[in-house]
Structures are given as C-alpha cells and as structure tokens.
Symmetry: C2
Subunit: 362 residues, 2 copies
C-alpha cells in the first residue's frame, strides 16, 4: 500500500517463463533435496517467501491439519510469516450457486493476472455437500485460471465447524501474503454464516447477483446485502441486458437508502457478463478506487487492526464455548434444561445460570 | 393468541373507573397492609397476576438490582410468573433521536389503549447520556400515555453493559405479560448493538424513519433496516407529505430486493404523522395482519421457542466471557498480547491460544 500507483503497476515478468516471477530455480532445487525429510518452520518460511507454491500448499495443509505436532509447526510458520504479510488486497466474493461465481472469478482473476499481479483464491465453505460442487471443490470450472502461473487456487478445507474453517482461512491468507500474492479472493456461497466471518477478514466485500430480484435471492441470507461494497449483476448479456441494467438502477436506489459504510465508501453497483468478459475492467476499476480511498483515509490500516483484535476475541470466545459445551457435566444436564425452557418451567436466563454454576463449581 | 379477533376485541372496561380493569381494590388494600415488610416471591406473583402495577414496578426494580438477595428473589418471581407469560404481542420500536419516537409511541400507544388493550412500554438503552434524553428517561414527552391507566411506561434501566440490560428487559417482559399486558413495546435508539438484542426478544420489529434519506440516516446502524418488518416514515404532513410518499416508494422498492423473512412476511412501508395522529390506524392494521400471518403459519410459537434457546445460549456465552475477562491472570497479560498482535509479532489466533491456555491451566 505504498503509493496509489501500486494497484496498476505491472510486475517485472520475464516473458516466456510461465511461472510466478518470484519463484526461483534455486529454491525449487533446494526443496527437492529436502523434501524427503520433514521441513523445519524456518525452511517452510524461507520457501514461502521465495514464492514456492508447492511448499505454500504444504504449509496450508499443515494449518488445516488437526494433529498436535502439525498445529505446533503451523503456529511457528504463521508467526514467522507475519512480518512478510499484510500487504495484499483482500477481497471477499459471495454469491449463491447458479449466479456464475466460478466464471466470474475466472474472468476477473484472468484480468488481474494479465497485468502481472499474483492472485490467490481461497474459500470458506464448511457447510455441506450441496454447496460443495458449486465452489472451489470444482477447480475444473476455472479452466484458464487453474493453469495460470500467476494464480493459486486453493480448494476449501474439509468440512468442519465454521469457526475452525474460518480461522484456518485467515491464517492461510497470512501465508499467501508472505508468498507475495498481491490480491487474495476469499469466496463463500452466501447462504450461511460464513459471510460474516469473511467480511471480518477482507478489505472489500463483493456480492454477485443476477438481474431478477426474485427466486435467485431466496438463498441469500438477510444482512449480506448491507455488507457489500460492490454488488455485481452478472449475466448482463443478450436478452438479459436490459433487465440487468434496470436491476442496476434498482439496487443503486436501494443502496442509497442504506447508511454509509465506516470506510466512507458509498457502495456501488456494476453489471457484467463474466462469460463474455464484458465490463470486468470496470469492476476492477471500482475495486481500485475503493482501495485508493481507504488508503488515503487510513481505513485500510485501522480496519485491519480492528479485524485482528476481533479475531483474537472471536477465537477466545469460540474456545470458551467449545470447552463449555464439551464438558461432561454440562452435556449430561443441558438437554433437560433446554426442555424446561421450552416447556416454560424455567426462564432461559435461569437455565443458563444453573449450567454456568455447574460449570464453574466442578 | 387464541383467535384472530383477539387483536381487535375490546376489554370490558367499566366506564368512569380510570384504571386498568384487572387491578382490583382488594389487592391494593392487601398490598397496603404488607408493604412495610418485605414481600415473598409468592406475594409478588399474586399481586402481579392481579394486575398490581405498583408491585410490578417494584418487582422490575428487583430484577434490575445487582444485590445477591434481590437476584435470588427475582429468580423466584420470574420462574413463578413464567406460566402466566407468553401471550402478548411483543413489538420492537427503533429510531434515531429526532425521528419523533416519543410522539409516535404516544400516538400508537393511545390508539392501542383506546380499544381497551393494556400496553407496556419498556426500553433498552444502556448507551449514554446523549441518547438518554431522547427516550424513556423523559417520560414527560409522552404526556397523554403516561397518565393513561391502560398504559405502563417503564424507563430504561440505569446504565450497564448491554448484555445485562437486555437480559433484564427480557425478564421484565415476562412479568409484564403475567400482569396481563396485551401489547409490549420495547424501544431502542437504533444507534448501537441494542437492536440485535431487541430483535431477538420481539415478534415484530418496527423501524421509524424520516422522509429524507440523508442526514437522519447517518445514525442508523447498518443491518438494522434488514431486520425491519415495517418501516414507518414519520412526519408525513404539511410540506413534507410529498417527500414522505416518495420515500415510501423508494423504501418499498428497496425492501423488494431483500430476501424474504423467515416468518414468510414481506416487510411493509407506511407513512404517518404521529403528531397529527394521521394513519396510525393503518400501522396498527399492518401489525395485526402480521400477527395473523405468524399465528396461522406457527412462526409465532416457533420463533419464541428459538428466541428462548437463543437467550439461554447468549447468557451462557456472556457469562463465560465475563468470567474470562475478569480473571486476574488474563487481565495481567491481555494488553501485552494485544500489542503483539497490533505490531504483527503474533497472530490473532496465536495470541488467543496463549490466553486460553493460561486461563484453563490456572
């Protein structure tokens, strides 16, 4: 975030060498020598900051692992990567299945890498089999991006509770930044609680929609629209063009009625046709103006700081709850008390107090 | 919620006796005999269910008290009142200062009591001195309602943390219902986190706005609009009428773009002039249709059940956090760790883990 030109500058890419500029052959050969034994945290970090994608992937797998030894190693890697992190544009992208999310990410992703920016695409989607096919599990839906050497696509971690998955994604972002990625997309399907988690780890939140405000909205959870910095209306092409333009006006009018963002940014609406790659440049321009604004008014820095402290508290809170609800005494008693609440024999608050007393007096 | 007519039926009010029909002189004289000694929980409950407002007020004061003996007594009173509770229409009313909230509550309150319904008005406003003057602290702003024997206005509890104040309000609702109140308004100022707490303890959420979508919106927190079942545009009178009508259309268009509520209800927009008592009846009609809908589709019952379990978990969660953050070991260490996070020496999640380990190993 050094100067305003950063977002449009091109990296020095050596033509003909079709791999990220920051990967050098030396680090690759070093990795080959040591790949049979386990790497130390320092070796991981060295390879990551040299841009070694294979090692980055391996490190993210370690973050996602639940083995105690992996968690210890992950902690060391993350802590050491921290000082190299924090420089990317973190962008959340949300849209329900059917909205054309993969095609959109492919189109804007290719646009971003076309001027030499390194792009990482991560996902938070701990939910279910239903949504799984529609997002990054299906890497083949991003055919061009998945073979683009400036892009790194990381499928969603295996199912788990949202809190855990979100934490791991947040830590993966740190590693991707240390590996030199300029832009990081974090993707969700817009149907669950994931969006709040994503919103609290990105700088910019993009909501992908279709022109009709009817059926395809059914899946979007209430509250998500008010988090959006940009609503993109996809499939603005052919017969659908007029409908998309009129939807744009409708959404613009609606967003005007919302209170302003803390960032001082007025949320925008933009149509595009991801499949025909139309107006993708306009979307990227909007994103750039946003980052120029929040850099100039210091929201970029302040928001990241708030997000860090938020995640610290959020993690504490989840760990406290996990400890409570996995406590044997609580597990033995809670159903009975919930039933008393349901049957109006006990107030919610009194039931809570009984459990809390049991918990702390054990 | 016995039948659909309930919301329009009039109670049997004895003309000339200007006090709630359910207060009888016997209970008043009994109270006089015993008021010098402390009442037992059973005596409180008996007086409350007979509609004794003085005792109700005293019981709410006990709920609000932080003395251990009061908390024990409050618990007993609430538990015993539970079986008489649950029958009212709980309505959240939110609007920033300047929107005319007191005048609106007075107007709709008088309309509600005019056909014999008993109305209680409670407030959640733990925030600050700034908002205090604008809401129930200033009872005199509801001149007519405050002398209406069918209305009970309870000022906001003294400042405290939001969680605590919200819990106490929720428990006061139980007592008000046991005392026979048909309609309960819970009021907030729309500028803080209180609205989420209120939304999770009411059946219907009303947002009061003005016609301009400019300055007066500055104070409304993002996310509140999407919680609204009804947006009321106040001050639709005189020169302002046309502007209010056009704002109505704008908000209607905006609400159409939102996903539907879990209740199956499509949020409405209605203009009114609270000061001239114009279209207050239309607002009450909308509220009635909502309650008819949620009674017929069973959302009324299911939502209350979910709210009860939500409050149980919410209370547990807050108590866990309070215990954690008031722990001496944590207090001694947390600032240092927050600084490490701020200075990028430690990840948020690692900082959280260190504190959690300290906490559970003490």
């Amino acid at each position: 975030m050094g100067n305003n030109n950063k977002y449009n500058k091109t990296l020095n890419v050596q033509e003909g060498i079709n791999q990220p500029s920051s990967i050098n052959n030396e680090s690759i050969s070093k990795f080959k020598q040591i790949k049979k034994k386990s790497l130390t945290a320092d070796e991981y970090v060295k390879a990551i900051i040299s841009g070694d994608i294979t090692i980055l992937s391996k490190a993210i797998t370690i973050i996602e692992s639940s083995l105690a030894e992996h968690q210890e190693l992950a902690k060391d890697i993350i802590t050491k990567c921290l000082k190299y992190s924090g420089k990317s544009l973190r962008i959340g992208i949300t849209g329900v299945p059917g909205v054309g999310k993969s095609t959109f990410i492919e189109a804007i992703g290719k646009y971003v890498t076309s001027f030499g920016k390194k792009l990482a695409v991560l996902a938070i989607d701990p939910s279910s089999d239903i949504s799984k096919g529609s997002i990054l599990g299906d890497k083949t839906r991003m055919e061009e991006l998945s073979i683009d050497s400036f892009a790194y696509i990381r499928p969603s971690p295996a199912a788990g509770n949202l809190g855990g998955v979100a934490r791991k994604t947040r830590e993966s972002v740190i590693l991707c930044e240390a590996a030199g990625f300029d832009v990081i997309f974090i993707e969700t399907v817009g149907v669950g609680q994931s969006e709040i988690a994503v919103h609290s780890m990105v700088d910019f939140f993009l909501l992908l929609m279709l022109s009709g405000a009817g059926d395809e909205l059914q899946g979007i959870k209430r509250g998500i629209m008010e988090m959006a910095d940009l609503i993109v209306i996809n499939k603005a092409d052919g017969d659908n063009l007029q409908k998309a333009n009129s939807a744009k006006i409708q959404y613009e009018n609606a967003l005007h009625l919302f209170p302003p963002n803390d960032s001082g940014w007025i949320p925008k609406v933009q149509t595009c046709s991801a499949i025909n790659k139309i107006d993708i440049d306009k979307i990227w321009d909007i994103i750039n103006s946003y980052f120029k604004l929040i850099e100039s008014n210091d929201y970029y820095r302040k928001n990241r700081l708030n997000q860090s402290l938020y995640w610290m508290k959020q993690t504490i809170n989840e760990d406290l709850k996990n400890n409570f609800y996995s406590n044997e005494v609580i597990k033995a008693k809670i159903i009975e008390l919930e039933n008393s609440v349901i049957n109006n024999q006990l107030s919610s608050i009194e039931a809570a107090k009984i459990l809390i007393n049991l918990y702390f007096k054990k």
